[in-house]
């Protein structure tokens, strides 16, 4: 059976499952639409959270980022940051917001800071963070379809939109929850099977997490030692030690991703779907279990694939691969321009090293690592088909979660919360469906016409969540005296500073040539790169909020009572 036919069958089957679930799990009330009725089992919610959380970036790009751009150890920022945030979420955020018992994150901020203005600021932060994030997912859907099913980007994107539209509009959070569970199963299977095969091929150990620390088959040398040796011989940084820019930058980068994780609304609202506070706590643990399966496999995949690539191009020192004898996968990926070779010295062989003057692998896109891995390791076609379905599952599940966060902010927080408080349940449900359809269409539009800044958006989403929503939630829960003025000033200052630093480096709205660095060197603030700036924005937010709060009126007594209620024992 041909690869593309097999891929159609596997992807088609997975889509049939998602649509079947949507028909079964229709939402009949706003409670079902926003929080799946509040009756989701904590393990099921953990699995859905994992799929919600792990996006096309985690599935397709992360291992490549670790293996190539961030040179091994430097990639630890993603591994530490995107898992460590769950510790904060589980202890400092999720249980108290669940206890408050409302439907959305802005709703909590509006109640706690007794102000529609604070709620609207939170809605704006949420919408900016979620929309920037969703563009990346829509692009991922179009690209995955285009590469594996050989249909046009636009056709692929349209198919993806119709499927999301169908189950998200029909089922709301309820439909999304159960499809996300199915999507988790698809994506984790697709991610781990190639990793297991490659680990066996290289080390004989079927567990990739152990394989990375094992010796190579037929050699008495550890895999990582060999990789370090090959890379340093070619002038690259040592795989297991080189930090990303500096220790301080790595610290801030990791912290930004951690607190961004704990402040992203589409993740937080997943914890509103479980029956109790107790379930919210344990559910965060289950989410992390399901996430950790992928996140501990990714570094193994990264190291092994990097070694595979190095030894394919240069099997022994000085014996470089002859270009005409390159394997089929090399040719396939060259045609997509994600892999580019330029014979600089004209010897017909491939030189790959760290010196830009003699390196002939002029482009190795990070995304190749996961997508091409099954081909590099000569795995059967059904594994490649599975990886396609897995990439689509990762992008679809995250897109759906983000779209729900956006539509509930519009229909519940803005329409019902501020504009028309007396709206009936039935009309609100209709409005939330319309808002969902609108969000899907907007995301689709942005997918068809991706703004120039698409590549920088995930970092911006984390920076925004880290510098605005996370501090507001922390102060709301842990600092009783915090008032409206402090919270609003803090959120605006945090977001403002973060946007300023990012735009100063990458251009206003990421438009080239509008960088306004002036005489400032790049990363001028203690050598911290823009992606790592969310933590600085959060510090600004906390500081401004506390100072403003000291000089303005205390919150009313009913707010103190409300916080006491949040802080009392659960039973």
């Amino acid at each position: 059976m041909s690869l593309s036919l097999l891929t159609y069958i596997v992807v088609g089957l997975s889509f049939a499952v998602y649509i079947g679930i949507a028909l079964w799990a229709r939402a009949g009330s706003t409670k079902e639409f926003y929080v799946a009725g509040g009756g989701v089992h904590p393990v099921a919610n953990g699995m859905a959270t994992a799929a919600d959380w792990m996006s096309a970036a985690s599935f397709i790009s992360m291992a490549g980022l670790i293996g190539f751009s961030y040179q091994g150890y430097g990639g630890s920022v993603f591994l530490l940051g995107w898992t460590g945030g769950y510790v904060l979420l589980a202890m400092c955020i999720a249980p108290y917001l669940r206890r408050h018992g409302k439907f959305t994150v802005p709703e909590f901020i509006g109640d706690r800071f007794y102000s529609d203005a604070a709620k609207v600021v939170a809605v704006i932060c949420l919408i900016i963070a979620s929309i920037t994030y969703v563009i990346g997912q829509m692009k991922g859907i179009g690209v995955a379809f285009g590469r594996f099913l050989e249909v046009d980007y636009e056709v692929g994107l349209s198919i993806g939109m119709v499927v999301v539209l169908f189950y998200a509009v029909l089922g709301g959070m309820k439909g999304i929850t159960y499809t996300q569970i199915a999507q988790y199963v698809v994506l984790i299977t697709a991610y781990t099977i190639p990793a297991i095969f490659i680990s066996i091929q290289l080390t004989g150990n079927p567990v990739p997490q152990l394989g990375l620390g094992s010796t190579l088959v037929g050699e008495n040398v550890y895999l990582l030692d060999k990789l370090d040796l090959i890379l340093t011989d070619l002038g690259f940084a040592e795989y297991t030690t080189g930090p990303r820019l500096s220790t301080l930058n790595m610290t801030f980068y990791t912290m930004s991703l951690m607190i961004g994780t704990a402040g992203l609304p589409h993740v937080i609202i997943r914890f509103f779907t479980v029956p109790s506070v107790k379930d919210a706590r344990i559910s965060a643990g289950w989410a992390l279990v399901f996430i950790a399966i992928l996140y501990t496999t990714a570094p193994a995949l990264a190291g092994m694939a990097r070694l595979n690539l190095m030894t394919t191009i240069e099997p022994a020192p000085g014996q470089n691969l002859v270009y005409e004898e390159r394997p089929q996968w090399f040719k396939n990926w060259e045609s997509t321009k994600l892999l580019e070779f330029e014979d600089k010295n004209g010897d017909g062989r491939i030189q790959y090293n760290a010196d830009p003057n003699t390196n002939e692998m002029v482009n190795i896109d990070n995304d190749i690592l996961v997508l091409a891995n099954p081909e590099i390791a000569k795995l059967p076609n059904w594994v490649i088909a599975l990886v396609a379905a897995g990439g689509l599952a990762a992008a679809l599940s995250t897109a759906a979660g983000l779209l729900l966060a956006i539509s509930s902010a519009v229909s519940h927080d803005l329409l019902k919360g501020v504009v028309r408080p007396n709206i009936s349940e039935k009309s609100e449900l209709l409005a939330s469906r319309l808002a969902m359809a609108g969000s899907v269409l907007l995301a689709g539009y942005l997918g068809f016409n991706p703004p120039d800044f698409a590549a920088g958006t995930v970092a911006l989403a984390f920076g925004l969540a880290a510098s605005s929503i996370f501090p507001a939630l922390m102060l709301g829960i842990f600092y009783k005296r915090m008032n409206t003025q402090g919270a609003i000033a803090g959120m605006l200052a945090g977001i403002g500073v973060t946007l300023f630093y990012v735009f100063q480096h990458k251009g206003i709205m990421f438009i080239e040539s509008t960088q306004f660095l002036g005489s400032m060197p790049a990363n001028w603030f203690f050598g911290i790169e823009p992606n790592a700036f969310g933590a600085v924005g959060a510090i600004v937010n906390f500081t401004v909020a506390i100072v403003v709060c000291k000089f303005t009126a205390e919150p009313p007594q009913k707010i103190y009572d409300m916080i006491d209620e949040l802080r009392s024992p659960n039973h």
Binding site: L80, K278, G285, L288, V289, R567
Partner: protein, 85 residues
């Protein structure tokens, strides 16, 4: 706020701070700041610091979240007995 609720909240904060100290030490102190020192030790084919940053910290986070869920439930039980609020 009743004394019982105060005591419950204080116990909860102590629990969180204790666990976050471990969280911070493993990810930032061991995984980033003192990683070069830890790299002088080995765990099989892994340098220890590299292993902590790419594997060990994640396993620690898992343990922390489950320990919190367990201890917080114990606190709930202990402080909610005989109190209907």
């Amino acid at each position: 706020m009743s004394n019982r609720t105060n005591a419950y909240w204080a116990a909860n904060i102590r629990l969180i701070i204790g666990l976050l100290v471990i969280w911070f030490s493993v990810s930032f102190i061991a995984g980033i700041v003192f990683v070069d020192y830890l790299n002088e030790f080995r765990l099989g084919g892994y340098k220890l610091g590299f292993w902590v940053a790419q594997q060990g910290a994640i396993y620690t986070f898992l343990v922390l979240v489950f320990v919190y869920a367990w201890r917080a439930n114990v606190l709930d039980k202990k402080y909610s007995q005989g109190d209907d609020s």
